[in-house]
Subunit: 245 residues, 2 copies
């Protein structure tokens, strides 16, 4: 985790918005959109932009967190582990999601970069003070929590009741809709997760994931250029294989 930019965060006199925020890809999508220019300046003064390599752990299960962050680029996986090493990914976060569990110091899960990512990190104290001053900020965080809750519950149905085939199809559908939101009937994308990660997300083994991908390919539901690149000729057909309506 190396610091990429250390340029001054001071406000610019001829603009209300801090320079670092002006060029930020998460300027409107993250939590920043609700802040006034002066609040944004205050936040940006304490923020640091970081690049994190794929596979490196950002927060460990049970650790005390000192930061919140916006994801500027890439995919983060949130996972939980049993004492004997069995692991379950409980959520994926895509740019420009907000990362961090408000109002709790100790993290109940671990956060790891699935791909290379860029984040904009803020000290928890600054965020928590801003929350009390800007009701719009808490509202935004609330909505993000509700979105994650909806996603978690959707995934519980997948984990508890779907077959391996449906699970893999559901995962591909999830990625398709998140990576390539303006898809037509056909779409194409790179998987942000390894087979091992996909297995941990679906509650399966690597081998089963691999076999089901092969099966979907043989059934003509997907085409596989290499192990990461996937082409979906007909999203509706993929949805049917995923058990979605």
């Amino acid at each position: 985790m190396q610091i990429v930019s250390e340029q001054s965060r001071k406000d610019i006199h001829n603009s209300d918005i801090p320079v670092v925020c002006l060029a930020c890809e998460a300027r409107h999508g993250g939590v920043c959109g609700t802040l006034t220019p002066s609040q944004l300046t205050e936040l940006s003064r304490h923020s640091t932009r970081r690049r994190v390599d794929p596979g490196s752990e950002m927060v460990g299960q049970g650790e005390t967190t000192s930061n919140y962050a916006n994801i500027i680029r890439g995919v983060v996986k949130l996972s939980k582990m049993l004492s004997d090493g069995r692991q379950q990914i409980v959520g994926l976060q895509f740019a420009p999601d907000f990362m961090g569990r408000p109002f709790t110091r100790e993290s109940a899960l671990s956060a790891e970069a699935a791909t290379g990512i860029d984040i904009c990190a803020f000290p928890r104290a600054v965020v928590e003070r801003l929350v009390t001053e800007a009701p719009g900020l808490e509202h935004r965080l609330h909505e993000q929590a509700l979105k994650e809750l909806d996603e978690a519950r959707d995934w519980m149905l997948t984990l508890g009741r779907k077959t391996a085939q449906e699970k893999v199809a559901s995962f591909l559908y999830l990625i398709a809709t998140h990576i390539d939101p303006e898809h037509g009937t056909a779409t194409e994308f790179d998987l942000p997760l390894s087979r091992a990660d996909i297995a941990d997300y679906l509650g399966l083994t690597i081998e089963t994931v691999s076999r089901q991908v092969t099966k979907l390919r043989k059934d003509g539901v997907i085409r596989v250029e290499n192990s990461r690149r996937v082409i979906v000729p007909d999203i509706g057909r993929l949805m049917r294989f995923a058990g979605i309506d």
Copy 2:
């Protein structure tokens, strides 16, 4: 779903708190705790107390919701269904939880009374107006959402990675800690869910649930008075069977 009390909700001149709220078991635990007396009066003016019989559906998947509610007594199960009928319970709510998904009109899940329950229901419009006036209310709803998110993610680990034995033990542990919070090392309680519901919550079949309960009984982890009443002589041992630390 019959209306139990229709008494006047008007404020009493010699008290700041509405009468119906004074005697309410959820007065402090639900969302009401953060409101000022006048806001509480406003809310209570539009609230209706209802009793709902076990098994009756309160909100259907895909329906438009018109109400929020506090659970005064009993257990509510939140579930999702696939088109072919496979079902997964994605959450349980106990008194004095708040029920309802803020900021969304269409429900993504169905809510059904697991036991007999009492609720205090409010029109969504009243709640949503109060949210804009009382930042403390949004904060309380936010915390409830975060709590539910934590619980959902815990359960994802159970659904995805635990064995049938561990799942059933995890369920018993969950109920033990929610029904009888001030337990010592031993505890005893009635299961609020039928075998079919437990199966839907654990992503198992009723037969497997039944077999695992029998197995836990034969292993001396629990004693079973009748199919509903369970005695746990040693919570720590149950936790170990549940794969918790």
